[in-house]
Symmetry: C2
Subunit: 138 residues, 2 copies
């Protein structure tokens, strides 16, 4: 929670308990949770928290670059507290969303084709290593 508080303060955001809880959960969690996931989890500690607050907070956090908003699933947002440049891999067989520690070479200079880059989003869909192994065993 202290880490979360510091990060919020560094952006001039008032570190309310709810905001710290949301950010803290994302910082300690590399599962790329949905809003529902985050809400369910926080309910255990803060029985009065509302989904509206979770939505508000996530919007504010991603607007400030403290978390990333992932549009990988067709109609559900996911959030990522790990904001170092990286890509994702969605396995179409087991559904796992895997972090890939690779960067986009095209974004190195902060712009592409004359356009200024603020965010880089890269993800792949396919069959993950583990599912490939399972397939071969058959």
């Amino acid at each position: 929670m202290e880490n979360a508080r510091k990060r919020l303060e560094s952006k001039g955001i008032r570190p309310t308990y709810q905001r710290m809880a949301v950010l803290s959960f994302l910082l300690g969690n590399r599962t790329h949770p949905s809003v529902e996931d985050i809400y369910e989890e926080l309910l255990r500690d803060i029985p009065t928290i509302s989904k509206t607050t979770v939505y508000n907070t996530l919007q504010m956090l991603s607007g400030n670059g403290l978390v990333s908003h992932l549009n990988i699933f067709d109609s559900q947002s996911r959030y990522d507290g790990f904001t170092e440049p990286h890509h994702h891999f969605l396995c179409e067989s087991c559904g796992k969303l895997i972090d890939l520690m690779i960067k986009c070479p095209n974004a190195k200079i902060g712009c592409v084709m004359g356009h200024k880059i603020n965010e880089v989003h890269g993800y792949f869909k396919g069959i993950c290593k583990d599912c490939l192994k399972k397939e071969r065993r058959r």
Copy 2:
């Protein structure tokens, strides 16, 4: 329409008028339309077409690789009839979604970190060339 028919047949999909119309629109259109956009446009030619059919068709077409499904906007799908590998750029100032004719170097060999790649999704958000110019003029 003939081009669309051929592509449908090549995938073993029955080329109904509705399906040809959806695919044909996407092939002749590089605007990355939403379902609503496509529906509105097709209504002019096919006053009885339903949004359900548009949804069904788009799902089938993207499942067969005839069009791409873009998850760039937060809660609205966009579709792209241009399926050569390329990336996109979303301008946060003017809202334009621009095609970038660049490929993902990480995907060259068809897999990343041992995972088999079926789809590559790369997009950037930022300020486009034109909006940067306008900013400078001030």
